[in-house]
């Protein structure tokens, strides 16, 4: 009889644990570590785009979920393959690209995290100098897939000039 109660408790645990994860508040003490971890994932994501890394460890192919999608400035929606093709065709110069700061977790739903950051896109001006060409606040979406954080997509919202 003693074992039966232990078994029932363990069985219930399997349902209660995911439910607790969903109810986790956005501001908990554990968020700082998760925020740091996901910001590092984000920096790898930016590097993969800049370096046109399509496959292998820390590549777009590996880090992005199959259902990955971006809503680009201007409103165009692109899927994983379209975004990888776009990145692969780009000709980024050293020092240019996307530079995210101010990464903040906004919501945690179990294995899904929704975050925002401020991203500056840097490019070259007519004299070849590196300059900011666009400022955006970006929605970043992450999924923990088989124990590893991966990228679900983003929504890139240009910040209106003051």
């Amino acid at each position: 009889m003693k074992y039966v109660w232990v078994l029932i408790l363990c069985f219930l645990g399997g349902f209660i644990l995911p439910a607790q994860a969903q109810e986790k508040p956005a501001k908990s003490t554990g968020n700082a570590a998760l925020e740091k971890e996901l910001y590092e994932v984000e920096l790898k994501w930016m590097k993969a785009e800049h370096d046109k890394k399509l496959s292998g460890p820390d590549s777009m192919g590996e880090m992005w979920m199959d259902e990955f999608f971006d809503v680009l400035p201007g409103g165009r929606v692109v899927n994983k393959q379209e975004m990888m093709d776009m990145m692969n065709k780009a000709d980024p110069k050293p020092g240019t690209g996307a530079f995210p700061v101010d990464f903040k977790i906004r919501a945690i739903y179990g294995d899904i995290v929704l975050a925002t950051d401020h991203t500056t896109i840097k490019g070259l001006d007519s004299s070849g100098k590196i300059v900011p060409v666009r400022e955006m606040n970006v929605l970043r979406m992450f999924v923990k897939d088989k124990g590893k954080w991966r990228v679900a997509g983003a929504g890139l919202v240009p910040v209106a000039a003051p």
Partner: protein, 170 residues
């Protein structure tokens, strides 16, 4: 010993259960289309659009305050990020200034498309057209946005979890 094996299996299952992130349905299949329809309706309720029109602006704000998930947040068209409390406060202030809503004004969502489902989180996009009415009630478009909309299923019910509004280049 037999109990020990069962015990070990159940303990293992309680830890492995949260690993749900692989989508259970595929884009275009029957379940996907059905969920897309449900979420399209949730979207219309969220925006008080179409058959969910509310004549008083504050009624819509009050409804949203109940309907949105607690962790709701939104990136507006100018890049402003607001959480649920901030959204409700700013919309309440707007409702005090302009209490009545002309039917068809405000956000008009169309082209709703479910993009990804991860367990109890669904991600979608739509094309939202914002309209205003002039003094004689004629509607005109003020802006258009491609909106990334997020939904969460809580206690068996889908609710809005947030959005990012990307202005469509004219």
């Amino acid at each position: 010993m037999r109990y020990a094996s069962v015990f070990a299996l159940l303990v293992f299952s309680s830890f492995s259960a949260p690993a749900f992130s692989q989508p259970a349905m595929k884009m275009g299949d029957k379940d996907w289309v059905a969920l897309e329809k449900v979420l399209d309706d949730v979207n219309n309720q969220w925006l008080c659009s179409g058959k969910y029109y509310k004549a008083k602006r504050q009624d819509c704000v009050d409804f949203r305050a109940q309907y949105w998930a607690d962790q709701f947040f939104e990136i507006g068209q100018t890049g402003n990020v607001q959480d649920k409390a901030q959204m409700v406060a700013s919309q309440t202030a707007g409702a005090a200034k302009t209490p009545d809503v002309v039917r068809g004004t405000g956000p008009n969502p169309q082209e709703f498309k479910l993009m990804a489902v991860y367990g109890d989180i669904a991600l979608a996009t739509d094309h939202t057209i914002f309209k205003v009415a002039d003094a004689s009630g004629n509607l005109s478009v003020t802006s258009e946005a491609r909106v990334l909309r997020m939904f969460v299923k809580e206690n068996g019910k889908w609710r809005p979890a947030g959005a990012a509004l990307v202005r469509i280049a004219q």
